[in-house]
Amino acid sequence: MSRQLLTGNAAAAWGARLADVDYIPAFPITPQTEIIETLAAWSQAGELPGRFVTFDGEHSMLTAAGAAAAAGARTFTATSSQGLLFGMESLYTISGWRVPLVLVNVSRGLSAPITLGPDHNDVLAARDAGFVQIHAETCQEVLDSILMGYRIAEDRRVSVPVLVNLDGFYLSFTREPVDVPDEAAVREFLPPFDFEHLGFRASRPIAQGVAVLEGATYSHFRYQMHRAIQNAAAVHAEATVEFSRLFGRSYAAIEQYRVEDADTVLVMAGSFAAKGKAAVDQWRADGRRVGLLRLRVVRPFPAAELAAALSGRRAVGVIDQNLSPGVGGIFCQELAAALYSVPDRPPVLRSFVTGLGGKDISQSEFDHVLSVLDAAQSGDPVTDTELLMTAAEWQQVQGRLASARRPVEDNAPLPTDSDDVRAAVRAEFEDARGGVS
């Protein structure tokens, strides 16, 4: 084992390297590119025996990843944001093939407007794609989750792809100390890929992903994916035990931070949970009984663990770094469903959204969340998701909006009546044709 300073991207590359992957289909996108650059450099230097291949886009990249996995190659690939969405059709396809592989997504907010900062709308767009989904908080967890990811994906009780998410900038470009495990110990944790059940050999042709036009048979196959991902909960728990024995680090589906005697609990995911823990530390120092739950495994959704951990608390605040327009924070909805049948469920559950496009979360915003939870009562009318933003940030936004507006004096009157518009377009068209009819 060696302890090194690594960015989240470098930690992801190390995960792939230590997993001894056979095949890496690649396409660049900010903030993921450093992952494939690192792997390409190792490949060129002869330090990475796996085959590194660049593609013309994420759709073909992901299709190739699934095809390679079906042929028995341990496969690693990575993308972000628009790239993940561009490959969305392939995500659903390759999970339907029931092939194991690890895909890393480096979170970045979605267009429009196009942006570079992170939030979880990209990765949560893939939440129903039939992948196991793990969200990392630290660079260490990125590396470790990739190793665990292969073990989970390749287990015959699961056999679907695993998606490991890390936040752009806050992890991807941030260096922090990471224990890089020894190869020998990784071999023990992750035996060679046994792909016998996938069946494909050049000498033994099979037809994969065939059309199924009967609804009942189709239902069977889709339902199998649901069962497979549910099985991943137990397989993850087993992998955690073995991982902790070999490497001394342990990861539960949900991380519980200072929740022992907490009456109020925040729920967060990803690297911003570190900020939530700092807020919890401050409140604890002030004598408040507050804790934090971090969602690590997002699919399968750890409903039973969440229900057990939150049963009997007074108030829960979910801080989502995503927004489902028309609903609000996604994790709050999923948590509400998980708590529905818990007899002693928390009487107060509130939804907050922040960190979109990488917007920071200040201690003030955490303090505000706590004050909202403190004031909330059981039986309050249903409230909408609250967007967290400080008055100073909102003022800055308004400055940006003002500079994008047309100065009022430049507003030439535009034809508003649709007949006038049509007449104007027609005249222009005639003009362009030089009056030839």
């Binding site: 100390p177 003030s364 933003m389 507006r405």
Partner: protein
């Protein structure tokens, strides 16, 4: 925890400086974290990088709004409010300025924290024969101000970080020398605890008309408000006596940053000239000279 914020321009090496500091603190046995902010900009544009050093696990990430130390590689950034060099200076314990004498800058820009200074640029010129990346000297200043990093940690960190860059062994040795001379010349800062930020007021974001609710710019031509001239590393200066009014530079300027006066003499719009020096390159009579824009290079 010590929070350090570096400011410079693309090419000054402040990202490398933050990495050298991070590595030095890591070698000294601390929990550390370092990161840059990348924008959609380029060489010469304002760049910020961060490092955090702590004895306990670091539960912060991203930008540092309330730094303990501000480390400034190029004082011309003090003229650019968008660079935000002095943001959070009220609670900072020290600021490092890459200058021979900090006093005039402190007075002109109302710099609040105690200022430490060293002319890293002059030392870099002296040893490397040219103004070059300032990463080793600037990182060294930060390391010394932190007070918890030894000379040996610093030297090892400079060697480690330069090993990832395509530099000659001789340049590495000289950068180590620069780092050590800066380290020897400065005193550690007196670090005080940053008080907890006052509670900020929260906003309620209302529904607005789609004109303001979508990222559409109606005010066409507003790119002019962005003074990209601040990215310039070199300034093109036209010698009106030599210029034959051929107009070639005016045609070739990729940024449309030139106009012609009534006599055909080209004029440079220094608010938007990015200093690419294509005009100087194409001038048949060498009438356009290069002048360094920032003292830091």
């Amino acid at each position: 925890m010590i929070r350090i914020r570096f400011h410079g321009r693309g090419g000054h090496g402040v990202k490398t400086a933050s990495r050298i500091l991070g590595t030095a603190a890591f070698l000294a046995g601390f929990e550390t974290q370092d990161s840059p902010v990348y924008g959609a900009e380029r060489r010469g544009a304002a760049v910020t990088a961060f490092a955090r050093i702590s004895e306990t696990p670091i539960r912060e990430r991203g930008m540092i709004a309330q730094p303990d130390l501000i480390v400034l590689a190029d004082d011309t950034l003090l003229n650019d409010p968008a660079a935000g060099v002095l943001v959070g200076q009220e609670t900072a314990s020290a600021i490092f300025l890459n200058a021979a004498d900090p006093a005039p800058l402190v007075a002109q820009y109302h710099i609040a924290p105690p200022a430490r200074a060293f002319d890293v640029t002059a030392r870099t010129r002296e040893l490397l024969g040219r103004p070059s990346a300032l990463s080793a000297g600037v990182a060294s200043a930060a390391a010394k101000l932190c007070g918890c990093i030894t000379e040996a940690n610093l030297e090892a960190a400079v060697r480690e970080e330069f090993s990832h860059l395509a530099v000659s062994p001789d340049a590495v040795t000289k950068n180590v020398e620069i780092a050590l001379s800066v380290f020897a010349a400065l005193e550690p800062a007196v670090l005080s605890d940053v008080p907890r930020a006052a509670t900020a007021e929260m906003a309620r974001v209302p529904y607005v008309d789609p004109v303001l609710g979508a990222s559409t710019v109606y005010n066409s031509g507003n790119a002019e408000q962005r003074h990209t001239g601040a990215w310039r590393v070199e300034r093109p200066v036209i010698d009106a006596g030599l210029c034959t009014r051929c107009g070639l530079c005016f045609v070739e300027c990729p940024d449309g940053a030139m106009s012609l006066d009534a006599t055909g003499l080209p004029l440079v719009d220094y608010d938007h000239c990015k200093g690419c020096m294509i005009c100087s390159h194409v001038c048949p009579v060498d009438a356009i000279t290069h002048q360094p824009e920032t003292a830091a290079w």
